[in-house]
Symmetry: C2
Subunit: 326 residues, 2 copies
């Protein structure tokens, strides 16, 4: 059985979650893909720190150069988060002839055309299922089983933290500040929640989703973005009276202008839904991605948009798909 | 640009829907896969009958032998429905070195191990995304982006006709017989609705879903199956009083017996759901497939489970995925 050697950049929630699944499902994975996956390196800041996740016998290193210069490494998993140095590392890995899997929406959305071009130039795969919707396999669906469709619309609850906050306000009548503080205490929201609550995270994901579905790249900073920090309990209660829920939505769609020309519209903003729309039932930390194709009609994918194991599941799917092809 | 020559067996809703999409999205498809798709033959019973769907310049033939003996045909699309002669045609096509795409749950569920073995023996692909959930890309999701998971449960609303009937009874307070007659008049239910309302269609789909997710094949006739024909308006009204909906569900799951050994349980039967379960909101002719994986957690896919274009979309996805690889 061929052994595929990989390196993981980062050993936090995503890199750690991946290691956990590789350990938990090792036998099943080897049987399915008829390959062994060997984690040769894990890139960390501090090689001596105790690790809450399995390290699988990998060498812990703080040197990316050590990884990129090792010709035995065929696949690099980028699980660092943040734009830099993640984007530069992905570029270098592709240039060094390695396939790359990333979960990093910020680095990918900011550098989408350049990174895809780099992968193509080097005839290597760059896969990123985990970057949008965590464990939800929407990106692979768009580029494979749905590839015969012209997509007219993508829409989604793309951020679990904000959906959790809005759900708790609706369900329990708590204020935005109360729920945010509670979510921070429970670890569902970050100490600095700006990227989530102001819609920046959702804009990154919408940028990737549109690039894939529409073959049009819009830099996330060009997407009109409004978050949920100004939503009051009164707004929620008004919506509830009308049988509506407020959801933070990333939305991209084609609309004909007065000359009949199709124009791409996009935004991230709070929107209201009644129970007739399938997005109405997507609550708490769950995400959903809704797609409209000219053949398939409306589809919705529902699942965990974050968390070590769901995100690790999506990274692993990409990794195994590349490993099978080697 | 390479031209991939294909043959379509059948020109009803599925074969016709596929032709419609190939015509509608031709340019986009050729750009995406960098191949031309040429439909060389369409197998029909009556070559002189007028056709409601595009025939795309294909030769209409009533001879399967003509197709299987034409070495230029690389992919055969089986869109006949029914177990025979569909299963024999698929076997012959694989033996003749052609890849096969099918939408036919009855033929596939009844012959799953033999057909997959035949494909493997001949080193050809047999793809069947459209056979479960119509346009919903759940099967590809299970075998690709979710392939690192051990699945503990699959569950679904796998039949649109019965979901339509149950939804109308719940929404409009009509009896089973009234809604069935209305659905038949509108063409949503067949003149002989037995396979749908008695759960046989759902059992075929559950058999395929379990084979893919659990790697355990259960012949559909071995699945305990109860349909919806005995559900009264009183049953529905009782459920409604408790905030529940009744759905016809195909369900397969692992459960530990008294010795702690995991046993596979399965059935097709009406089940009740409250609004806390994502399946509650799946109404009318829509289908949903719910999956639980040990890494990804719970996922649900929602969309059109039938109809010429949604089913054609799934067939086309498989076709293009094979065409890319040629």
């Amino acid at each position: 059985m061929k052994t595929v050697k990989i390196a993981i950049l980062g050993h936090g929630n995503v890199g750690g979650g991946l290691c956990e699944i590789l350990q938990m499902n090792r036998q099943l994975i080897e049987e399915r893909i008829e390959r062994k996956i060997h984690v040769s390196y894990i890139l960390v800041n501090n090689v001596t720190k105790e690790r809450p996740w399995p390290t699988l016998g990998a060498k812990l290193t703080d040197s990316f150069d050590e990884i990129v210069n090792d010709n035995s490494i065929e696949i690099v998993i980028e699980a660092l988060g943040g734009i830099e140095p993640a984007a530069s590392y992905m570029r270098s890995a592709l240039e060094a002839g390695k396939h790359v899997v990333t979960a990093n929406k910020a680095a990918l959305a900011a550098n989408y055309p350049a990174l895809l071009e780099k992968a193509q130039e080097n005839n290597r795969q760059l896969l990123f299922e985990a970057s949008v919707g965590g464990g939800i396999p929407a990106l692979t669906a768009i580029s494979n089983p749905l590839q015969g469709n012209e997509f007219t619309e993508v829409m989604g609850i793309l951020n679990g933290t904000t959906n959790y906050i809005l759900s708790k306000m609706w369900d329990e009548g708590l204020s935005y500040d109360e729920v945010l503080a509670d979510a921070q205490a429970k670890g569902f929201a970050e100490a600095d929640p700006t990227a989530d609550v102001e819609g920046i995270d959702a804009a990154n994901k919408l940028s990737i989703l549109m690039a894939l579905a529409f073959h049009v790249y819009v830099h996330p900073e060009k997407i009109p973005t409004e978050g949920i920090s100004k939503i009051t309990l009164k707004d929620i209660e008004n919506a509830k009276k009308h049988g509506e829920k407020i959801k933070l939505i990333g939305h991209g769609y084609w609309e004909a202008d007065e000359n009949g020309q199709e124009i791409l519209k996009y935004h991230v903003k709070p929107m209201k839904f009644t129970s007739e729309h399938p997005i109405f039932g997507v609550d708490n930390e769950y995400n959903a991605i809704y797609i409209n194709g000219n053949a398939v009609g409306q589809l919705m994918f529902y699942g965990s948009g974050a968390g070590p194991l769901p995100t690790g599941s999506a990274v692993l799917g990409d990794l195994l798909s590349i490993a099978r092809s080697l």
